[in-house]
Symmetry: C2
């Protein structure tokens, strides 16, 4: 038995988002003028053992240590 959690990682406000900037430019060049802004983010779909003790704390820990860079990024966790 297992359960699923998703960790979403976003750049903090004010941090340069080069992928977002590039995609914005490309959209304009391709003639799409309906888009005001694009922000890039990443996510991690974690499959965890159902009987894991203290799993929310562990997910917070690995999100801070491994999945994100707390200096420039924030994360949110969602139960699936």
């Amino acid at each position: 038995m297992s359960s699923k959690k998703t960790v979403y990682v976003r750049l903090k406000e004010g941090v340069l988002d080069p992928q977002g900037v590039t995609i914005n430019k490309s959209l304009k060049q391709m003639g799409y003028d309906d888009f005001i802004s694009v922000k890039f983010g990443k996510f991690f779909e974690l499959e965890v053992k159902a009987d894991s003790a203290d799993i929310d704390r562990k997910i917070k820990e690995v999100s801070e240590k491994l999945l994100s860079n707390p200096v420039i990024e924030t994360f949110t966790v969602e139960n699936n």
Copy 2:
């Protein structure tokens, strides 16, 4: 006025996920044995003009042409 849409891009089943593999290994090395698997994905938060005509088609188009690689990736669109 604007509205928000999020495009989630995932690797197709069976396509090698190097980031996922690396994070899985790191979790084991760090002593976390509660995690069965990790899958990596990316997302794009689009801010679109509220009066855009035919916006769903355009988002599908840019998702196929620019935001994902249809050979190895799939995408889903969510209204926020």
